[in-house]
């Protein structure tokens, strides 16, 4: 364990040499002060004019989660089949925002685009978690049924009721994630909270931004009161009713997209200049195109994404180990704990994209904002999970009185294994976020994907998306190997997949 940790720390230190950590703005502290004062003097009157955006944020999240859950359940039924597993891994390896960018030229900037951007990756995640939850649930009731009971009856009587609670609470946790995704989709132009938040932040209207952000916290913080199980069908039905139906979808569009726009440029060149829009095979041209892309955007994007991921992985780990004692009753009194918990909840509720956006305003577009945003968001989640484990440990009655002794001799040795398992479980998530935050100016894969879409080079954008997905699948595999080597469980249990901070005790 120590060797692995030191190895990863070494890699991160080397990566720091290649990382651009400059602060590019003149007065970051002054800006931070103005932001903080905006947060404490929120302009509630502005909120009324943004009520539609708030509503749409919830509507997108509800529709996206419900559609994703239905598709995910269908995919979970075929999860024993390797091609289905591969398909699910592929669609969840691409971030919601990238899906939105991909659907934009197809469907236009509208509700269906936002809906699918959430539903598609979520379907892949739901399929995996649903299938695993069912697999891990108690099999004894299933075995006790009459031998020739039909599959569907078996499922309805002895699988669904047994696994139901876990499935429900995971879906609820995902809905909370969907609220974040939905809000962030506003940053690329969809009519959700992020749209106005971006405008307000860009124009320095921090009191408006503060009100919007606080409204979002309120929305997420009150989830457990308004998202009651029995009300869910009503909310979902209402959301589908309120989802704007206008869309620009046409088969013609789709066909042109698939058979023309995403085809590598050398194959299109002649058809383009002749105006015939025909594809012509050109092997050497294609090879040059691939080579040029690989040398340029792909190399730089992959390099920077991996550098950022490895730095962030270690930074998150360090932050977790520093923060978790504050949230555990082994170290901190009730009031201090409440304070730390509150901070962790805020950090986890704030979408990492928004955090990074704010840090870019503070420090300019180097790697620094991305590192801080991803490490804070993930560190907050992990610190909470590790503190929960710390609270559950039974210590001998004569445990060391001094906190530092207690930390290094009793808790850290016991918690280090589970901590590493959780950290590496999120490795792939951190990589996905590292790629995404390129959209804000760091030269990770997201930067090149975004410019590909912006310059209407859909062939380049799609190729880079495929590379990103491949990299993500690679990290996922690697993380499984590392976790197995650490002799941790290959997968954390159901509770760890659902790191709900606001869960009732």
């Amino acid at each position: 364990m120590l060797k692995t940790s030191l190895g990863f720390i070494g890699v991160a230190l080397v990566a720091l040499l290649g990382a651009d950590l400059e602060v590019l703005t003149l007065d970051p502290w002054g800006e931070l002060g103005r932001m903080a004062s905006g947060l404490v003097t929120p302009d509630w009157s502005a909120l009324w004019s943004y009520r539609d955006a708030l509503l749409q944020t919830v509507v997108f999240a509800l529709c996206g989660t419900s559609l994703g859950a239905v598709l995910g359940a269908l995919l979970a039924a075929g999860f024993h089949w390797a091609p289905v597993r591969g398909f699910c891994a592929l669609i969840r390896a691409v971030h919601e925002i990238f899906w939105a960018l991909l659907f934009l030229p197809l469907l236009g900037l509208n509700a269906v685009c936002g809906l699918l951007a959430i539903a598609v990756p979520y379907a892949g995640i739901f399929a995996k978690v649903y299938a695993e939850t069912i697999q891990e649930s108690d099999a004894r009731p299933r075995d006790a049924l009459p031998a020739s009971t039909s599959g569907l009856s078996r499922f309805a009587y002895a699988v669904l009721p047994v696994a139901g609670t876990d499935l429900r609470s995971y879906t609820a946790y995902r809905f909370e994630c969907a609220l974040r995704s939905s809000a962030v989709l506003g940053f690329i132009g969809l009519p959700t909270l992020g749209f106005h938040l971006e405008t307000a932040l860009r124009e320095g209207l921090y009191s408006e931004a503060g009100a919007l952000l606080l409204a979002f916290y309120l929305l997420v913080g009150t989830l457990r009161w308004w998202l009651r199980a029995r009300w869910v069908p009503v909310w979902v039905a209402l959301a589908w009713g309120l989802l704007p139906k206008a869309t620009h979808f046409s088969w013609e569009n789709l066909t042109r997209f698939l058979t023309w726009e995403v085809v590598p440029w050398p194959l299109r060149r002649e058809g383009f200049y002749a105006g015939t829009q025909t594809v012509q095979w050109d092997a050497s041209g294609l090879l040059d195109w691939v080579w040029e892309l690989a040398q340029g955007d792909v190399w730089s994007g992959v390099f920077n994404t991996l550098i950022l991921t490895q730095i962030v992985l270690v930074a998150t780990g360090v932050l977790t180990l520093l923060l978790f004692p504050g949230a555990s009753h082994r170290f901190t009194g009730p009031w201090g704990r409440r304070l730390v918990h509150g901070g962790l909840i805020v950090l986890r509720t704030t979408p990492e994209y928004l955090l990074a956006y704010v840090f870019v305003l503070l420090w300019g577009p180097s790697m620094l904002p991305a590192i801080a945003a991803i490490a804070l968001h993930n560190g907050a989640i992990l610190a909470f999970l590790v503190s929960q484990r710390a609270d559950r440990l039974t210590l001998r009655p004569d445990f060391p009185r001094r906190r530092l002794d207690r930390y290094f001799y009793e808790l850290l040795p016991r918690l280090y294994g589970p901590f590493l398992a959780l950290l590496f479980y999120r490795w792939e998530i951190m990589m996905r976020e590292s790629a995404l935050l390129g959209m804000l100016g760091v030269a990770t894969l997201g930067f090149y994907i975004d410019s590909g879409f912006a310059e209407e080079q859909l062939d380049v954008a799609l190729a880079l998306l495929v590379v990103t997905a491949g990299l993500n699948l690679g990290i996922d595999q690697l993380s499984q190997v590392v976790r197995r080597r650490l002799r941790q469980e290959a997968l954390p249990g159901a509770a760890d997949r659902r790191p709900a901070l606001a869960e009732p005790a």
Binding site: D138, R140, P141, A144, L145, L152, S153, A158, V162
Partner: protein, 226 residues
């Protein structure tokens, strides 16, 4: 082979992960017998029951300890599950949402027999351990199969209730094979005792033909381990 033989195992060896659980075991059970499997834990009683079940899956009701119930479903549904294979799937799905009057009547009659009057709508996780075993028994009764195989059917009820429940279990089907932890219960409710130790049958006789010291031998701790 006579008509009345239900199970015939001949020099059967069964193991998990290369570890033999039953070795060279031969056993014939005829219709109408009430067989009690006794012996220390780990002797292979559950494995033997499962082996018998796999011989005739459609003619058996397998009654585990209460763990086989679905705690989230009502007593009515848990009892009804004994006949899932005898109804078409659509009817099973409908029963999950809205059981027909006929099914409700049938199941309630069974629940009355096991002493759970008026508890059809209770979720089984809200019931006590003893009540849960009654539900499991109800499922075996409702299944109405020619053979009942029961694994510790009365492990979590008091001795007085245990007698009543085993009496009911005896009326559930013509042939009964049950694993019991208590020799006294076995003597009172079985027509034949089969003692297992280390995966072998070391005792096979009618209850009144077993001298008491044989039981002590059956449950004796292996001296080598002391």
């Amino acid at each position: 082979m006579t008509e009345s033989v239900v199970f015939r195992l001949h020099q059967e060896s069964i193991g998990y992960n290369g570890q033999p659980v039953l070795s060279n075991l031969s056993l014939t059970i005829e219709a109408g017998e009430r067989v009690a499997l006794i012996g220390p834990s780990g002797a292979g009683k559950s494995t033997l029951l499962r082996t018998l079940y796999e011989r005739l899956p459609d003619q058996c009701a397998l009654m585990h300890q209460q763990y086989a119930l679905v705690p989230q479903l009502s007593a009515l549904h848990n009892v009804y599950m004994g006949r899932l294979d005898q109804h078409p799937t659509w009817e099973n799905l409908r029963t999950l949402v809205w059981p027909s009057q006929q099914i409700r009547d049938e199941v309630e009659a069974v629940l009355n027999r096991v002493g759970l009057q008026g508890m059809a709508r209770q979720r089984t996780r809200e019931l006590s351990g003893g009540q849960q075993q009654r539900v499991a028994l109800g499922r075996a009764l409702y299944r109405n199969s020619p053979v009942v195989l029961a694994d510790e059917p009365v492990s979590s009820v008091d001795p007085h209730q245990a007698d009543a429940l085993l009496h009911l279990l005896g009326s559930a089907s013509p042939t009964l094979v049950m694993a019991l932890h208590s020799v006294e219960l076995a003597q009172r409710h079985a027509t034949r005792l089969v003692g297992l130790r280390d995966g072998r049958i070391v005792l096979d006789a009618a209850p009144d033909q077993v001298p008491p010291e044989r039981f002590a031998e059956l449950y004796a701790r292996p001296e080598a381990l002391c």
